[in-house]
């Protein structure tokens, strides 16, 4: 084996070469350029002008920057776990040999394929405070609960996207429709769980839930780790839905102004590419820090068959 191990250097490099080449061609320069821009004022038209750390110091006193950061932390730490859990449940529900399971899978994945313009109309309607379906249901529940508790308990009827308190929960709720993508990755991972392991657990008389927790979860832990990390990165770059819903304004009262949206606004509509680059690098270090923590926490819990 000694011979082949020493050869592994070259082989490894050769396999990874496409990415390394790509890194030097399309990644290194844009990244370096954006570091440089983060110390400049740059509007996209005139040449960048070095201003030192001013972009970074201005960010510290930018009210919208902090708001957008808070909103993003909110969506990442509440929306992402909720979405992950939901997708995992869906994956379990769809990982069975049942008549018509292909159809169910396709349907659950459908919202990920439907164009956002068509979805937006539907969202706006479902969550409309006056005529929306969700509030109609809540009102019914309210009448029922109020009658049952003699008026002691009431169900809140939120203004959803019009209400700064409920606009983010509304977005999270809408995001659940797009759970199909993450579900698909989980589902692919569940295909790899060897049946033999299940069979031995069956003999031990373990219940379904017990089996999933102690047999399946460890086995798919590398993929769970992937989904968590990609979810966190995606949460910090949360953009499209808020852009569509508030047409880029972050209304009401900046409650849907997410980090990537504010960054985009600075980069394009506001002509502040340098400022946006500074924001990008701050985001980079935040994401890096959190990823590192996720790495550390999960190192103990990921079970690689290979190691």
């Amino acid at each position: 084996m000694r011979q082949s191990i020493s050869n592994e250097y070259l082989t490894g490099l050769l396999f990874v070469l496409p990415w390394i080449a790509g890194f030097f061609i399309w990644i290194l320069f844009p990244l370096g350029y954006s570091v440089y821009l983060s110390f400049c004022t740059y509007d996209g038209l005139t040449a960048p002008l070095w201003v030192g750390t001013r972009n970074y110091t201005r960010l510290a006193s930018d009210e919208q920057f902090w708001k957008s950061l808070w909103n993003t932390v909110y969506i990442t730490f509440i929306g992402v776990p909720v979405g992950l859990f939901f997708s995992l449940c869906l994956a379990f529900a769809l990982n069975q040999k049942r008549r018509g399971i292909s159809v169910y899978r396709t349907i659950i994945y459908l919202p990920c394929l439907t164009p956002v313009v068509a979805m937006a109309v539907l969202w706006m309607w479902l969550l409309n405070p006056e005529v929306g379906l969700v509030n109609a249901l809540l009102r019914k529940t309210d009448t029922f609960v109020a009658a049952w508790s003699a008026g002691m308990l009431r169900v809140p009827i939120p203004g959803w996207l019009n209400d700064p308190l409920f606009s983010k929960p509304a977005l999270i709720l809408m995001g659940l429709w797009g759970a199909g993508g993450t579900m698909l990755i989980f589902l692919a991972a569940l295909q790899d769980v060897p049946l033999s392991l299940f069979e031995s657990a069956e003999i031990d008389g373990a219940g379904w839930f017990h089996k999933q927790l102690h047999v399946t979860l460890p086995l798919i832990s590398p993929v769970l780790f992937y989904n968590i990390l990609v979810g966190v990165i995606g949460g910090f770059q949360y953009f499209t839905q808020s852009y569509v819903i508030s047409s880029g304004t972050g209304a009401p009262q900046d409650s849907t102004l997410f980090y990537a949206l504010y960054l985009f606004n600075n980069a394009f509509p506001f002509w502040k590419m340098g400022y946006a680059s500074a924001m990008a690098w701050i985001l980079f270090f935040i994401t890096l820090g959190i990823s590192f923590v996720v790495f550390r926490l999960s190192a103990r819990h990921i079970h690689y068959q290979g190691e």
């Binding site: 509007d43 019009n162 394009f268």
Partner: protein, 452 residues
Amino acid sequence: MPLKRGHLPMISASAAVAVMLVLACALVYTFSGARPATAGGRTQITFWVGWAGKELDVIQRFVDEFNRAHPNLYVKTTSIANSYQKMKIAFAGNDTPDVCATVWTHELADYALRGALTPLDEYIAHSTRRPSDYYPAVWETYKVGNHIYALNQTMITFFMMYNKRIFREEGLDPERPPRTLEEFDDMAWRLTKFRGGDSKGELKRLGFAYGNAFIWSIAFGTPFWNPETRKIGVDCPQTIRCLKWLKSNTDRYNYQRLRAFQSAFGNASSPNNPFISGKVAMILDGDWYRSIIDEYAPADFEYGWFPIPAPPEGRTASTYLMSSMFVIPAASRHKDAAWLLIEWMTSAYVSCNVHVGKSPGGLPSLRAAAAEPEYREPYWQFVSAMLSSPNAMPPPKFPLFERFISDYSRMEDYVLSNVKKPEEAAAELQRNFQTEVDTVFASIGLQDKREK
């Protein structure tokens, strides 16, 4: 699964991978190249427009006419799909078309101040076009500093429209729209209907959907910009009066309820348009609304129009001008030909024939064209009067207008939802935005010095 265990030497295996990838890549590279331009020996002028679909077809007809008239030139139109992000990237990459019709009136200062556009003064001086051919306010929109940077076909003008049938139903004279701001507020309240007649209950119809602080601030007299001192003028009694007036009205209707009601408005370009469907009795919008009404309203839809009401100390008959415009980017390779195209596309003939539907989409900016018979009806006469008003206002000529508008509506949202006091919000906008503008001028100034 059977495994074949044939032995391949390491090098050939790795080579196989490399060859496969490179081959595939090369194949795709070859097939994804540029299609040769079909200009046939003519100079090709690239022309970007924001129009699409039927509107694009109409524009293309006039481009074709231009191509026939100029055997040595060939204009190639590209629709950039309503996205101005592509424009900004093209400008940043110095890869602009020769002409574009996609710079909006409020973006003009941003592009012009940064030297990204070709001044048209020389071309205009050598043409038959004269400033006096245009409405003065329109000519003003083309200008940044002392130069003309753009021309256009038709201008969007803002004013009020009202539904005559609802006026009649509520016992108001349909031929007498409100004249003062007070009268306007009273009528708006009177035209509002609640479910079950209870003013605490759900809204059924609005007299007017209060909002759009920016345009109302024009009527209230806010001096937005002083070009001499390069100071914005938002933190002033006029703005504060405007915000307080908006707030007292939205409080009367309850801001949350107002917003909830508005969120159920249909899309403007559809038969469910809230003005056409009678959900709102009076609107503040652009003259382009005419084409919406023609397209979607039932034949018996009766409507009238009136200038934006102003407080006694404000600006009477004020209006705001908006439009996409034709410009020649500084990096254009065929500027003279580009000018020929702009001259043709903004000519009186083209300006009054560009409409898609049966009626004109807007009043031509050239007065000679606006005098054509089809604009003799009262509606266009009124639009013409608005354009001639001394209080017709182009967007203020400071940079970062999009940022400004976004800040302005944030200020409005915060004030109306009772989070910030009008004084506090206006002072904050003034302070923050002034810093932004100062930064832009400082860096443009430094650039100029460095170039000299």
